[in-house]
Each structure stands twice: as structure tokens, then as C-alpha cells.
């Protein structure tokens, strides 16, 4: 039984009950109420006085030490994570390993220092006043940052936790249902090497949508970040007092665009392989996972034929990165989409479908975007495009939610296209091979991963 929390020693243990987080994963959850959470908030805020005495670069060092243990073969922390992740997240064993490697690569000291300097120029600005832009200025982290993760791609919780700790914010993290393991393991390991720092961190899971509990912590936070579907984020936003800084990461979709240069007979298989891998990582549950691929119709290989290449590539990937377990509702949706696509393909439409049978991958060539492809396994829709305005039209309905765009073979068009995509809300255009794991300093959903968590105080000259 896994204990779904890591809390400061000073906190009184409130008792715990068993809770099932999935068919093969049960945890103990703390039996908490609003009053207990209020007490926890007091302790975390108290702990902030220690945290703020540390230099940001020192925090990067300590967090990096813990983070790098998740990458070290033979380290018991990594072993524990790899043991628990498949059951906790529903990912297959090889996929869990790939996800951990990809996520934890950004949790090491070098990457964290790089993140600090990318965000702030110098991390000294978190430690005291620094001369910038004609005045002296300092970035102040929250006394308490509350992070509520409603989605649950493994690793998102640790990344979120690291970000706020780098800004010297005491942090209360509620991880997503499939992401309980990593932040708990991370925080417990942190407590061993740096007990003072750990007094400012709490990770605990409770069953979602409990507005009493959420209100209790939100009212104590200075900064609130939340990750999840639109309704979840909207719910947290509604509970958050207006005076708090609110950083929402709502529902996002990612797509891919394939230009004719990547559709030559020499390159097409490599292109398909890279796209397939970007789809497969996280079993397509990530907001960075492409859902639709738009293929230029002018290439040597037609969009319809490219759908076939993608199908083969996804089938091959089942060897290296097999799909994980789907939940019943996802399987239900999968059967619906596949059956409907087959029927449409049997009518006069140009729709074509390929799928992996018991393997969850499905590719639907859907020139008129007839089908709504719900999230269900590795499900990819392929649509042909004739030019950029055609692409813009097809992306229109998703405009409010666009995030990453994987690209291949666009040549000189790329920069113009990237700007157009940016105007549509896209915050990242990248090669398919890079798509699943953005660099730490990526402007996450168009914002600043660390700067969005601090407020600035400017000190002007006193004068004479």
C-alpha cells in the first residue's frame, strides 16, 4: 500500500484510509478536513522563513540532487519509481521508463540553473535587489503556492513542485490521480537530504472536486496554479479569491503538420516513425501529444498513403513502447470511434481507418474531419491540407486550446507558419522527436514557468 502523501514532520498525522486509484493501484489517503489543512498551511508558511534564506542557486543544487536520482540506474529511488509507475499510471513498463527518463532529464541541477537564468537573467534577483532596467528590483516568491493538478501525466507534479520551490515558495501540491507516486517519492527523498527545505513542502492527494477542502487551502495561498481540463480549472478559478495570483494550465491540444519535404520516398518512413513516437509517449494523454496530423497534399506520398505509414509505425512501436491499460470508458470510446469510422468508410466517404485490434492505436484518414476523435488510446486523425489557409481553417475550432505543433518537412515556410500558429494561440513549434518533452524554459502555454509565479518589487532611489 502506497502512502499518498509527504508532509512536514511538524504536522500532526490525521489518520488515513485506503482508497483505490485504479484497478491495480490502491493508496492510503490522509483523512483530512478544512481545519487540518489550515493548520498545514500555517506550518508551510512558517517554513517559508527558512526557505527564503536559501539562495536560488542552492535550491537548484539540492533539487537537482534529488531529481538526478530518478535517472541514476541502480538508485533505489529510481527503482521504486519504476516499480510503482506502471500500476499507478496505467503505462506499460517500457513506456513508464521512457516517461521517467524524459521528465527527469529536466530535474537535474544544470537544467534547473539554466531555467533560472533563462527566466531571470540572474537568479540573484530572487535573493535580493539587483539593478535591472534602470532600477533595483527583486523577485519575490509566494509564502505559499498551492498547486492543484487535476490531470495526471506522470512527472507533471514534480516539475510543478520544482518550479515553485525554485522561486522560494512554500508549496502544497495536490497531484493528479495517476501522478501521485513521483511527487511523493521526490519530497520524501528531499526530506532526507535537506530536512529544513522539506518543512516547506507538502504533497497530498485527496479525492477530487472537494470544494470545502480546496477552498480552505486556496484562501491561504498567494499563488495558485492548476492543471487540468477546462471544467476542473474553471472550478478552481471560481474558488480562488481575486487577490491571489492564478496560473491556469487548462485543456490543451497539440497537432502536427507535415510538409512535402518530409514526404519523399527516402524520408517518409522516418517521418512516420517520429510522429508515431510523439503520439505514443504518455499513451497520447499529454497535452503535448499530437491528436491530428495535417499533411500537405503536394508531397510525393499522398496524405492517404501517409496515414498507412503512420499505422505501420504505430504497430512497430507496440514492440518498443507498448500501449498501457485503458480505462473502461476509454475502451468504450475507442470501440465507438473505430466502429463509426468503419461505417463511414463503408459509405461513400473517403474516410479510411487502420487500427491495432487489441493494441489501442488507431489511425483515421478523415479528409473532411467528419469524426470526433475522443481521447481513447493512441488515436490519430490524418487530414490533408492544400495550403496554410486551409490549415488555419481546420485548426479554427481548437483555437482556444492549441498548444504544441510538431513539424517536419516545411522548409522555408516554417517561420511564417510558426508566426501564424502563434497568433492562433500555439506556444511551441518543434520537431516531432522533441515534442513529448519540452525544454524546461519553454514558454509553457505561452507564459513564463517561473516568472509567472513571482511578483516584483522595485526599489527606486531615495533621492536627496
Amino acid at each position: 500500500m502506497f502512502d499518498s502523501w509527504a508532509i512536514p514532520d511538524a504536522v500532526q498525522f490525521p489518520g488515513a484510509t485506503c482508497f483505490s486509484l485504479g484497478p491495480e493501484f490502491s493508496v492510503r489517503c490522509l483523512s483530512i478536513d478544512s481545519q487540518w489543512l489550515d493548520g498545514l498551511a500555517n506550518i508551510l508558511i512558517e517554513g517559508n522563513s527558512t526557505l527564503r534564506k536559501r539562495s536560488a542557486s542552492d535550491l537548484a543544487r539540492v533539487l537537482g540532487i534529488v531529481g538526478s536520482r530518478f535517472l541514476e540506474e541502480g538508485d533505489p529511488l529510481r527503482a521504486k519509481a519504476l516499480e510503482l509507475l506502471p500500476r499507478a499510471s496505467g503505462l506499460s513498463v517500457p513506456m513508464a521508463r521512457a516517461v521517467l527518463d524524459g521528465m527527469a532529464a529536466d530535474w537535474v541541477e544544470d537544467r534547473l540553473s539554466e531555467l533560472l537564468s533563462n527566466e531571470f537573467g540572474t537568479s540573484d534577483v530572487l535573493d535580493g535587489f539587483v539593478q535591472q532596467n534602470g532600477c533595483r528590483t527583486m523577485a519575490i516568491g509566494a509564502d505559499l503556492c498551492v498547486q492543484i493538478v487535476a490531470g495526471s501525466v506522470p512527472g507533471v507534479g514534480v516539475t510543478a513542485l520544482i518550479r515553485s520551490l525554485l522561486t522560494k515558495a512554500s508549496t502544497l501540491l495536490k497531484p493528479g490521480r495517476g501522478d501521485v507516486v513521483l511527487p511523493v517519492l521526490f519530497t520524501k527523498a528531499l526530506a532526507v537530504i535537506d530536512p529544513d527545505l522539506a518543512e516547506a513542502v507538502a504533497v497530498l492527494y485527496w479525492s477530487g472536486g472537494s470544494s470545502d477542502l480546496e477552498s480552505a487551502v486556496l484562501s491561504r495561498a498567494d499563488v495558485v496554479t492548476t492543471y487540468g481540463g477546462d471544467e476542473s480549472v474553471q472550478g478552481i478559478r471560481a474558488l480562488t479569491p481575486v487577490t491571489k495570483r492564478f496560473v491556469p494550465y487548462h485543456h490543451r491540444v497539440s497537432v502536427g503538420v507535415i510538409g512535402s519535404y518530409a514526404l519523399t520516398s527516402e524520408l517518409v518512413e522516418d517521418t512516420a516513425r517520429d510522429v508515431a513516437r510523439a503520439v505514443a509517449v504518455f499513451d497520447q494523454r499529454g497535452c503535448v501529444s499530437p491528436r491530428s496530423i495535417y499533411v500537405e497534399a503536394s508531397g510525393d506520398v499522398t496524405p492517404r498513403a501517409f496515414a498507412g505509414y503512420l499505422a505501420s509505425a504505430l504497430e512497430v512501436l507496440e514492440q518498443d513502447l507498448p500501449g498501457g491499460c485503458l480505462e473502461l470508458e476509454e475502451m468504450a470510446a475507442l470501440q465507438q470511434v473505430r466502429g463509426a469510422a468503419e461505417l463511414i468508410a463503408s459509405s461513400d466517404s473517403a474516410v479510411e481507418i487502420y487500427h491495432g485490434g487489441r493494441a489501442s492505436w488507431t489511425v483515421i484518414f478523415d479528409p473532411d474531419a467528419e469524426l470526433e476523435c475522443h481521447h481513447a488510446g493512441r488515436m490519430l486523425r490524418v487530414e490533408p491540407i492544400v495550403n496554410r489557409s486551409d490549415l488555419a481553417k481546420r485548426l479554427g475550432p481548437d483555437r482556444a486550446h492549441l498548444q504544441s505543433v510538431g513539424v517536419a518537412g516545411l522548409g522555408a515556410e516554417l517561420e511564417v507558419l510558426a508566426e501564424e500558429l502563434g497568433r492562433m494561440g500555439v506556444s511551441r513549434v518543434a520537431r516531432f522527436s522533441e515534442l513529448p518533452f519540452p525544454p524546461p524554459s519553454w514558454h509553457h502555454d505561452g507564459g513564463n514557468p517561473l516568472r509567472d509565479l513571482v511578483h516584483w518589487v522595485d526599489l527606486e532611489d531615495e533621492g536627496d
Binding site: H251, R285, L326, L328, A332, G339, A340, S346
Partner: protein, 384 residues
């Protein structure tokens, strides 16, 4: 039965008498009510004839079957007849036979995402739909009285001409109601003042009634009443509720709704009957404590012309009786479209009865993308 050795098919355009013959045969069987026991062989024979007809006279379905290498000659059981997912009704008009014979169009609710068209079910054999719904409605809701007053929180077919639920209630009302009060308009607005007045008067007169509504409408009404109790309805009264328990209304358990309804109108909870149906199926299932007394969960009983199975969601093979699976139905009342339908609903099928399953308790969806909750909210309620 079909001639399994024959590979020659009559041309598509010739609508043979076979469908007409089968339709009249079924209509007559449906009209005999639920008392009639159907043996497996009898169902099998009718089901295979229905498949043959649909294969011959529904070209899209035929190509769908052929894609899967399934033709009537190779199908020895209705269980192997290719299933059409309910989602397909959003994309295609699955009419068997001549489109000009379509008598009515029933629409499903759309989803929360505005991009999706609502589904629709074209009825080219309305007489079969009528015969099926009348017999089941009678058996489960009015087994003991000829006629009763209907108080409906489901809009009338004039208000919602494409709702199969409205059609069902009004069709039943034509023969089984002594008077019908329609108290919700086409926008879903409840005339609560009139409802209060009607219920008050009928209670005073000691008049037995059938109160009908969706979970959504009942919850809305109960919230409006804020715990106020109304005069007790006459003891022979009954309530039909339908629709899911999650989605467009505040979360409520079935038990909470039943207790609250029961207290409000002074009827025992076992006078409340749940109807389970969908636009894509012309037959309905009922969970009735009026006819099956004092069991804790009696399950939904299908009429004899509908068979239900719970299927493994990956393989679509049947699961064991105690296991839950995706529900699939073979409904002979769907002769005019497609009989074998795969739903997204989850349940167990024990002794032919369907036990619907709620979602995994406390489940939050996986993934940082659009949540399953948001999808689920759109799926199971009201708009039939």
C-alpha cells in the same frame, strides 16, 4: 430461416415482401405483450431474418459487414451479427429499405462540444416502435390499471417533435391516459405553479396518477421545492424516471433521488420505476418494483424481442455473468435501421436482465487533456 447455401442475392433496389412480412410478424408478436415467452430458437430465427433483410437493403451496413468478412451465410447466431456503435448514428442515416418510407426522425442530444452534430435515428417502421413501446410501457408501468392520469415533466411531442422520449410518452398516453398534463415546455422550463396545482387537486381527489420525468427535471423541481412536502398522492400512483445520474444536474445518487421524491409526494420508493432507453434503440428496458417486489436491485428487464449482452471492451467477446462490460443490444424493433447496437454504457447482464453500472467511484480522469468527465457529462441524459 435463410438459405445458407445461397450466395446469389436479390438486387438492392427490389424491396421484397420479406421485410414487410417480417415487420408484420414482429408487430403482431410485440402486441401480444411481455407475457409471451420467447424461446432462444424463436429469437434466433427472427434475428437472423432481420439481419438478412438489413444486409440486403441497407447498403452502408452491407459494406460494413463485408469489410469484416461477414455475410448472412456465415452468420449462425445473432451474436455474430456485426454491431453498429451508437456514435454512428451521429454520422449516418442507417435506414434499411427505402428512404422515402421514413416516417419520423428522432434526434439525440448533442454533446457539450458544439462541433458535434447530434445523432438521429430515422424510423421507417414506426408501427414496430409503437408496438414495442406500448407493450413494455403497459407491462412495467400500468400492469394493474387500464388508464391513469399522466402528469408529465417530459415535454410534449408538439414542443419537442424530434424527441423519442416525448414520442414514447405521448404514444403511451394515447391509449393509457385518461388525461395528460404536459408541464415542461420545449426549452425545458417547468411550469411549477401549475404542477403544484395539478398535483394538489389530484391528491385531493384521491386520483391515481403516473408522474413522468427525467432525473434532470426531477432534481430541478426538488431543488425548487427546497424540501417542502406536497400533499400525498393517491397510493396507487406511480412515477417513471429516466436519464442518467451524472451530467447536467448536480450529482445525486439514485437512492437520494428516490427518497427525496418519495418524501415529497408521499409515495413509497418502490412506486418509482426507472426506464432505460436511448434514441438508437426503439425498445426500452425497465427496472420496476411494481412488478418485481422487494428485491434490492432488480435490474432492467428487456422485452422478449430485445437481447442484451455485456462485452469485453477490448475483444468485444461476451464476459461472464458477474463481470461488467460494454452493453450491446439486439433489438428487433430496430428492423427499419440496424438491430445490433453497441453502446458506451457499462453494466452486467445476469439472467437476461441488465444491471447498469455507475462510474468508478471518485474517479478522476487520466491525462491532462480534455477530461473524460467532460465527455461523460454530455453522454447520458435527457435529450432523447
Amino acid at each position: 430461416m435463410t438459405d445458407k447455401s445461397s450466395t446469389a442475392r436479390p438486387p438492392i433496389e427490389r424491396i421484397p415482401e420479406e421485410i414487410e412480412v417480417l415487420a408484420s410478424e414482429l408487430e403482431s408478436l410485440f402486441s401480444q405483450g411481455l407475457e409471451l415467452r420467447w424461446g432462444d430458437e424463436e429469437f434466433e430465427e427472427l434475428a437472423l431474418r432481420a439481419f438478412e433483410a438489413q444486409f440486403q437493403h441497407n447498403p452502408v451496413y452491407r459494406r460494413f459487414c463485408e469489410r469484416r468478412g461477414t455475410v448472412p451465410a456465415t452468420v449462425l447466431s445473432w451474436r455474430n451479427v456485426p454491431m453498429v456503435p451508437t456514435t454512428a448514428f451521429r454520422h449516418l442515416d442507417l435506414v434499411t429499405g427505402d428512404h422515402s418510407a421514413v416516417e419520423a426522425v428522432f434526434r439525440t442530444s448533442g454533446t457539450t462540444s458544439s462541433t458535434t452534430a447530434p445523432g438521429r435515428h430515422l424510423a421507417s417502421r414506426l408501427s414496430l416502435y409503437r408496438a414495442s413501446l406500448l407493450s413494455t410501457f403497459r407491462a412495467h408501468l400500468l400492469p394493474d390499471v387500464e388508464k391513469i392520469k399522466f402528469v408529465s415533466l417530459i415535454p410534449s411531442p408538439t414542443a419537442l417533435p424530434h424527441s423519442s422520449l416525448s414520442y414514447m410518452v405521448s404514444t403511451a398516453a394515447e391509449t393509457m391516459s385518461s388525461e395528460t398534463y404536459w408541464l415542461v415546455d420545449g426549452n425545458g422550463v417547468l411550469d411549477s405553479a401549475r404542477l403544484r396545482k395539478v398535483l394538489g387537486e389530484l391528491a385531493l381527489q384521491g386520483e391515481e396518477i403516473l408522474l413522468l420525468g427525467t432525473v434532470f427535471a426531477f432534481v430541478h423541481w426538488l431543488d425548487e421545492l427546497g424540501g417542502e412536502e406536497l400533499p400525498d398522492l393517491a397510493p396507487g400512483s406511480r412515477i417513471m424516471e429516466t436519464g442518467g445520474f451524472k451530467g447536467r444536474t448536480r450529482d445525486i445518487t439514485k437512492e437520494e433521488l428516490y427518497n427525496s421524491l418519495s418524501a415529497t409526494v408521499g409515495l413509497a420508493p418502490n412506486r418509482i420505476v426507472n426506464e432505460y432507453g436511448m434514441t438508437e434503440l426503439f425498445s426500452q428496458l425497465y427496472e420496476s418494483n411494481l412488478t418485481q417486489l422487494h428485491e434490492t436491485r432488480v435490474g432492467h428487464t428487456p422485452p422478449p424481442w430485445l437481447r442484451a449482452r455485456a462485452l469485453n471492451p477490448t475483444t468485444l467477446e461476451p464476459v461472464g455473468e458477474q463481470e461488467k462490460g460494454l452493453l450491446a443490444f439486439f433489438d428487433l424493433a430496430n428492423l427499419g435501421s440496424v438491430c445490433h447496437v453497441l453502446t458506451e454504457d457499462v453494466g452486467r447482464v445476469i439472467g437476461g436482465r441488465v444491471y447498469l453500472e455507475g462510474r468508478f467511484a471518485g474517479a478522476e480522469p487520466r491525462g491532462c487533456s480534455r477530461t473524460m468527465d467532460e465527455l461523460m457529462a454530455s453522454r447520458r441524459i435527457a435529450g432523447r
